[in-house]
Symmetry: none
Subunit: 412 residues, 2 copies
């Protein structure tokens, strides 16, 4: 028996007054999702707990069966890991932005005009040569997509208890990074980061790429902002916990990082971008393939969250319908007599508030021996009438492992 977990990032929503009091899921044409609801068992799920607004990182940890309140240790290391960087125990990772500052270090553009990958790569290459005053540690810096980058501090005397240098909004000065507790490690780490901020700035402000950008009227990417300090969460990987081979089909570094620490194989899918223009069918094919090779596949699609953060209800419907086509393809290609398929969302993202919300998400599980209920449509409210009732995100993986016969008995 095998399991496929399909996650539409931020796919759940609140009812919209402008759209007849319905949610995007309730409005979209989604025959495959409805088929799953009809043939399966449905419910609603609090990714973390009722009313708690999850991040995609904490929610994905939960969907993989972990207690996020216990294991979550910040974003940075997960993002770095998901970007293909090495992060070991003791290392501290950071999410970074190339940004534009004036000579007083006031941030003019937190995304440096969304600088393109090629230019960012050239800048990152130069930053690798920066030397730190301390010889007891090293750093790795890597640009990912556009202005986005990640930093890892490698060493044994580091702490993630440090503040961010990113003021969060344009028009404010770059923040001095401060230790958040009294440990010498936090103080040391803050000092290193402030040193890196300064030394990166020295390299970037006169870098030929930036000189060229200014000539073309573009904002120079003359500083790097650090935030989301995090370490590797301590958890038992799925392969150890259940003796399974699991793989992850996701483009977003943060999700890939979570799956990596959970012991999943990260698949590279050409055309999977984590954007609205991602190649849904390429992901579908990868999922079908992954199920042939292993026991569990996680298929994550970022697009509904992107549409939600843009407040674009209609685009969210379109994205949901594309996911539905993807799902139809998968359901046609896999062996349903030996596969359980779960469909859900990692959190509600409201097109109205444009942010993650703590409302529960719908979930449907289809497979040979589920207790099929009488829900016929996949949606936030229809699924609330299903046989799963209301579960927690961290329950889902246990439920799936139970269904595929991989759960371990507790007691005799």
């Amino acid at each position: 028996m095998k399991a496929l977990l399909i996650i539409g990032d931020g796919m759940a929503d609140r009812p919209s007054k402008e759209f007849g009091g319905k949610t995007p899921l309730e409005t979209a044409d989604k025959p495959a999702m409805n088929h799953m609801a009809n043939m399966g068992i449905c419910g609603i799920m609090d990714p973390i707990a009722p009313g708690i607004q999850p991040g995609s990182d904490t929610a994905t940890l939960a969907l993989l069966g972990y207690n996020a309140f216990k294991v979550y240790s910040g974003r940075g290391a997960l993002e770095a890991l998901g970007s293909g960087m090495n992060v070991s125990d003791g290392d501290v990772g950071f999410r970074c932005n190339f940004a534009t500052v004036n000579e007083n270090l006031k941030v003019l553009d937190r995304r440096a005009g969304r600088i393109d990958d090629a230019e960012a790569s050239k800048l990152a290459e130069s930053l690798k040569k920066v030397e730190l005053s301390s010889s007891s540690m090293e750093f790795t810096f890597k640009n990912t997509v556009q202005h986005r980058a990640a930093l890892v501090l490698h060493g044994s005397k580091l702490s993630s208890a440090v503040s961010s240098s990113d003021p969060g909004v344009d028009g404010e000065k770059v923040s001095v990074i401060k230790p958040l507790d009294d440990s010498p490690e936090a103080k040391f780490t803050a000092n290193i980061l402030n040193e890196l901020t300064q030394k990166f700035y020295e390299v970037l402000k006169k870098h030929p790429v930036n000189v060229e950008r200014v000539k073309r009227g573009l904002p120079p990417a003359n500083i790097v902002l650090f935030r989301g300090a995090g370490t590797i969460p301590k958890l038992k990987p799925l392969n150890e916990a259940y003796g399974i081979k699991a793989s992850c089909i996701a483009a977003v570094p943060l999700i890939r990082g979570v799956c990596k620490v959970a012991g999943m194989q990260l698949l590279d899918v050409k055309g999977a971008t984590g954007t609205l223009q991602t190649d849904y069918m390429a992901k579908a094919k990868a999922a079908v393939q992954a199920l042939k090779m292993g026991d569990l596949a996680l298929l994550h699609v970022k697009a509904p969250d992107v549409a939600s953060h843009d407040g674009n209800f209609k685009q969210k419907i379109e994205v949901i319908e594309k996911i539905d086509h993807m799902l139809a393809y998968i359901l046609n290609k896999i062996d349903l007599s030996e596969t359980y398929v779960a469909l859900t969302s990692d959190h509600t993202t409201s097109c109205t508030t444009r942010s993650h919300e703590g409302d529960p998400v719908p979930v449907a599980i289809m497979g040979p021996y589920v207790r099929r209920d009488d829900v016929e449509e996949f949606g936030e409210r229809t699924c609330a009438k299903g046989g799963l009732l209301r579960i927690r995100g961290k329950d889902l993986m246990h439920i799936l492992m139970n269904l595929i016969g991989r759960a371990k008995k507790f007691g005799f």
Copy 2:
């Protein structure tokens, strides 16, 4: 966005054989409550956990979002705080009764004939002058309503691990207070209380008020019984946790105490008494006003619990109908486009057993973006079919804060 939480104390009930197998809520005429159920999302809620019989103190802590199992530290300090007394960290508070004893300290009436407030005040005034043998601490004593009073021991070497002097029933001797652990603090506190019992008795037994009462054939209030030792619970107030301004409309000292430690402003409403004769409309008006001034208002009505403890099913129906009128007024006066209203009960109180029960309570939440379900009537069984399904008391505040946009994201 704002939130109003309306709590009918002990409003939920069990079905009654004498009333066609229905509960008071199911029997009452309650158009406003039904309107809330119809327009909102409904569910049932275990105030603490399934089957656990909550006190009003633990249940209210839960409804404010706290884990009562972790934070509850006894009743006394909450009751004293809610009575307007000062209680600091380290202090121990007690609920007290003026009672009647004979010369052998056998309790003849635990409520001293429900002595009136004026007489109790005179007695309390005299007790303030009692001097303790220890100079390392002080006490404050205050009468509240009728025979009820509160005591606070102020000091740094006190403990709430002490037994009660109240035998709980008439006809038994006043209990000697004992330390409940081996700490010197518990021993010291027990000694102080036994000393206070004796010294209070010396003052009260010859007090003119009591001499006069005996002449009139009334039981003298010649002793003070101590129970419910408690300290201030350690918790993060709502204003800090969510950055909100919250206020409490409640007459019962215990509820006011809980709201006070949660950082809520306690409103004084003329005519709000915590009895069956409370001024419902005065409370309604105060709630409407409170919502104009802040982000969250809690409106607590004690009356349904009083009727339940009296085993008076018909009176409970009348009280529920009065609450319904109150609710109708509120719903007409507030701006429903920017307010979420939650209606629930802090626990089930059975008119049959006349005590708090661990059965779940109904809950309805109405507001701009709730996922309205198809429940059309507010009641213990109708709400069980609603979209909230079954939640815990401590989830409710998180759900409300999420809806009004005050929840903090967990993760990225």
